[in-house]
Amino acid sequence: MKKDIFQAISDPTRRAILTLIAIQALTPNAMAEKFEMTRQAVSKHIKVLHECDLIKLEHSGREIYYHFNAKKMQEFDHWLAQFRQNWETQFNQLDDLLSTIKEQQK
């Protein structure tokens, strides 16, 4: 079961992590240093972000690097923009319908 993406980005630390790795892929150790957190605390956030596909893991030698999965964020943003657009379209249709009915009632 995939994690809810809204849940994932609700946390300010996770948003900061995403912003940081969008610029540069990081190892868990480097991330813990930057955020002055324990490895365990970082791992928890990573797990949540990874479960909803917002980050990707890449192995390089013995190190693991975390990358930002921009595609997933775009999908999500598409969705939100489209959802809003659908409502706008529907409401414009309703505007037309209301003015037609008002015209008929005159």
Binding site: I9, R15, L18, A70, Q74, D77, Q82, N86, D96, L97
Partner: protein, 166 residues
């Protein structure tokens, strides 16, 4: 188009809630009908090029509307709306679930709350949509994708906007 009419669209992620407010250039009674009568709902209740088709609608507490949004190529997306509370002309609440064509519901659904108020001949409609999971709502848009490019520069903005902490 009526560009001066208020339109607000906000998402509160933490509360898993979408807030939509829209003004209409018509009286409260007419707008109420447009939201609560099948023959009117079907004329605007799906974004073009889709259209809505109500199989039946029984607008009373405990009653249901069973309807589909139909795409131009004929694909049908069925939903069931069950009315949980009605205060005539002012407010109604419903529980919305996707369903198959035989009305088998796919739980969980979402809770919708509509409030109507009129001022100076214009009617304001406030809609609150609460979801147990937003992943579920993604289904609303199956097959409807638009092109979009996001730059890294606005990433931080986007993230904080989406999480309601601007």
């Amino acid at each position: 188009m009526n560009n001066d009419l208020l339109f607000d669209f906000n998402v509160d992620k933490a509360a898993k809630t979408v807030f939509i407010t829209r003004e209409f250039n018509a009286g409260q009674s007419l707008v109420w009908d447009a939201f609560t009568k099948a023959e009117l709902l079907d004329q605007w209740g799906a974004p073009a090029p889709m259209h809505a088709k109500t199989k039946y609608m029984d607008f009373k507490v405990g009653g249901r509307r069973f309807y589909a949004m139909i795409s131009p190529d004929g694909q049908e997306r069925w939903s069931v709306q069950e009315y949980t509370s009605i205060t005539p002309k002012t407010n109604f609440k419903m529980y919305n679930t996707f369903a198959d064509k035989d009305e088998n519901r796919e739980l969980p659904g979402s809770e919708w709350d509509h409030t109507f108020s009129e001022e100076n001949g214009r009617t304001k409609v406030s809609i609150t949509i609460f979801n147990e999971s937003f992943e579920r709502m993604e289904k609303l848009l199956e097959g409807f994708r638009i092109g979009y490019t996001m730059t890294l520069a606005n990433l931080e903005n986007l993230l904080s906007t989406l999480s309601g902490k601007q």
